[in-house]
């Protein structure tokens, strides 16, 4: 089982992709997804507490992730 996670900017560079398949089994938590990502190639470049969006809204590490949810890692934003 794996979940797709969307990547942008420096995180897309770190993983060398705009989407990675993360080997976790849903339902799980956002923290589980992030922990699994650290083991992927490039995962060592993630900060201690990366921001995560679940279905296009910022989510806590304890938030539940279900199959079909849209998950994205959000690098430090720099709009404006």
């Amino acid at each position: 089982m794996s979940l797709p996670v969307l990547l942008f900017a420096s995180y897309a560079d770190a993983f060398g992709a705009r989407t990675v398949q993360v080997p976790v089994v849903a339902p799980c938590t956002v923290a589980d997804v992030v922990m699994a990502m650290r083991l992927l190639p490039g995962g060592d470049r993630l900060p201690d507490k990366p921001l995560v969006a679940l279905n296009q809204a910022y989510a806590k590490m304890t938030a539940a992730v279900n199959t079909g949810d849209e998950i994205a890692l959000i690098p430090p934003v720099a709009g404006g």
Binding site: L6, F8, A9, S10, D13, A14, R45, P47, D48, A53, Q56, A57, Y58, A72, I74, P75, P76, V77, A78, G79, G80
Partner: protein, 152 residues
């Protein structure tokens, strides 16, 4: 100052675009006969950042979420400053020095809420909206800008 009539409902207009920003169009979108003040903001690409000479910036967004956050910010401004009419546009893609990356227009019967709403929107946009910029320098290097200096 006497009471003004109740503000008209206004649905904020937000957009992510790749073409150059048209501030006049943005201002027209918030204009109304009930409006006495329009505060606007343009963010432009600076030739120098952190002492490095910038040649251009690539803006990238998580577009559907960026759109949602911009709309949420505009609505929050409308709640905090009752009757304010807010439009926000952010440009994506490659911009050169002096080009505008973001424009905000806030219109209100009175100047204080118009100006305060404009400040709220730009400050919130900078911390919440999932948009990123890659700065290119004259020496050929580039970096993803991290305004908070968070280790990556």
């Amino acid at each position: 100052m006497t009471a003004l009539p109740p503000p008209l409902p206004f649905e904020p207009a937000v957009a992510l675009i790749t073409e150059p920003i048209d501030l006049a169009q943005l201002i027209a979108s918030v204009s109304h006969a009930s409006v006495g003040a329009i505060a606007s903001f343009l963010g432009t690409v600076r030739e120098l950042n952190d002492g490095r000479s910038v040649t251009g910036i690539d803006y990238e967004a998580y577009e559907p979420m960026a759109h949602r956050e911009m709309l949420a910010i505009a609505r929050e401004a409308g709640q905090q400053f009752s009757g304010v009419r807010v439009s926000i546009v952010h440009r994506l893609g490659t911009l050169t020095v002096s080009e505008a990356s973001v424009a905000i227009a806030c219109a209100h019967a009175r100047r204080a809420p118009a100006a305060d709403a404009m400040r709220l929107v730009i400050e919130q946009l900078k911390v919440r909206v999932p948009i990123w910029k890659r700065e290119h320098y004259t020496d050929g290097e580039w970096t993803w800008v991290d305004p908070m200096g968070t280790p990556r």
